[in-house]
Amino acid sequence: MGSPVLFLILATIAIASALGMFQSRNAVHAALFLVLNFMTIAVFYVVLNAPFIAMVQVTVYAGAIMVLFLFVIMLLGAERLRGVEGENFWQLGLAVILTGILLLVFMTALILGDGEAVTAVAAQPLDSSPQALGLRLFEAYVFPFEITGLLLLAAMIGVVVLSMGKKKRGSDG
């Protein structure tokens, strides 16, 4: 699953860009940090023998979704919030404590688990070509696939309705 050096370099970039996204006050900077994070994860996908997912990650996530984010940020001119983001210390402390607990709970599987529950099946390397993926998708996951289409349709109609505004009621909306 890749060499340790490569993993450590990529993991450092991923965590650093996530922290950069978390702390930057300017929303455009945050979006660009997130693009860097998505690109790093795309490289992880290539390392993990998932080239098609990596391509989808770059085009859909780093391309479409982040462009949508940047478009909305610049449309609203909302790079910065008016006023300072509140320095609410009890809230900060509580959030850090709760997230620490969350992190610990996630890690318990590693700390307490015997590790033998999921053993690697060292057969021939995984065939992750787009053809194999598509066959699997349409053989075993046809119904979820149809539901996905319905979900996208609902989202599309919802977005159109939401952005129609309130012209019918005569307010300037």
Partner: protein, 102 residues
């Protein structure tokens, strides 16, 4: 240092997820909260692909498609909501979004 195992990916994914959760809890800019949610979805995707490789099962990679679709739909609706809120409140700070009807 040894070989990279699935544990390394679990740790990395957990850390990324926690940073996303922290962002949702602490930031007040609604757009940055959405970006944090994207980060959390991405950490889940990373673990899906890592386990697909670990267990030699392509189902993990198929599931990533569904997560990406849900993320795309969620972002489209969420950003439309943010634009609608900005039109009435002139702000996207979640502290000022305290009415069900603008």
């Amino acid at each position: 240092m040894g070989e990279v195992t699935i544990d390394w990916y679990i740790v990395l994914s957990t850390i990324l997820f926690s940073i996303g959760a922290l962002g949702v809890l602490l930031r007040r800019n609604a757009i940055i909260i959405f970006m944090s949610i994207e980060l959390m979805l991405n950490s889940a995707n990373l673990l899906f692909v890592a386990f697909a490789n670990h267990l030699n099962d392509i189902d993990g990679q198929v599931l990533v498609f569904f997560v990406i679709t849900v993320a795309a739909a969620e972002v489209a609706v969420g950003l439309a909501l943010i634009v609608a809120i900005f039109r009435t409140k002139r702000s996207i700070s979640i502290d000022e979004i305290n009415l069900m009807k603008g």
